[in-house]
Symmetry: C2
Subunit: 136 residues, 2 copies
DNA sequence: TGTCAACATAGACATATGTCGAACTCTCAG
DNA sequence: CTGAGAGTTCGACATATGTCTATGTTGACA
């Protein structure tokens, strides 16, 4: 990774909020903060992993639940989960032998807030969306 | 300007709607349809380009407006614009010597709908969001 | 204690990606 | 018709990414 940050700032505060894509041009610094999160989601395997975790009972799933759904080796799945975790999209919780991953709603809400104003260019009332409001 | 890529179904219907990340696990086929759009946004330069186009007067900008903002060669910017265009995120319009790019709100709304239910896992009322409603 | 099962890490490999300079295509002014 | 400017395409290159196999680590249990 070209990322030279010694510590990932995404875990405590995954994304700065309230700065949708439209409005004013995004700064380079912020773009470099946000892009890795979208990049992490820009892979079919990781997108399915996120979806599986989110739709799994209790909003969490262990690796043993996820791996069999793919035609990929276990280390590969582990690698993708690590990418999602490093991006701040998944939390990790080890219980006994199993490792459970949970989605982090803040991260998802923050990503959504990027598109809120842009997606509803004509609708205009996306600012009233509760998720965005909760994030700000 | 009939787009020459027969494999990209994104221009007529950028993203299938109403299938957020949570709910039920995303199918492999759909993940492979959605991931390229997020991947296209997963680059700081492209994220800034999208933001600049969206926030530019009239919702469109010509390449000559965008290029000077970056410390990159003009062919590189052109390449990134092509990636965004191929992903269905930007429309292209040539007028005289200049080429104007416009954002496609449908694409943004579709991306947002992915995160709508997920981001507001506890808020719950994201289904009432106007942008999502407009897309479905 | 020793063994097994669940994950993670390391190293290697082929492919994809971002970038550049050079060359090409259009369009307009003269 | 010719020249110049705006963008795109091409070919090359270094680096990043996704995947694998092999190995390491950790916790449960006989």
């Amino acid at each position: 990774m070209s990322n030279s940050q010694t510590s990932l700032p995404l875990v405590p505060a995954p994304l700065a909020c309230c700065s949708p894509l439209s409005g004013e041009p995004m700064s380079q610094g912020r773009a470099e903060q946000v892009a890795p999160v979208l990049k992490a989601l820009g892979d079919p395997v990781r997108l399915r992993l996120m979806s599986m975790v989110l739709s799994h009972e209790g909003g969490e799933a262990c690796v043993c639940d996820l791996t069999p759904a793919f035609d990929l080796s276990q280390p590969t799945i582990s690698h993708h989960l690590k990418v999602l975790h490093d991006a701040g999209l998944l939390g990790r919780d080890k219980r006994g032998v199993w490792v459970y991953y949970q989605a982090r709603p803040e991260a998802m809400a923050a990503v959504m807030s990027l598109f809120a104003a842009a997606g509803s260019a004509s609708a205009s009332s996306a600012v009233a969306d509760p998720a965005v409001g909760a994030c700000c």
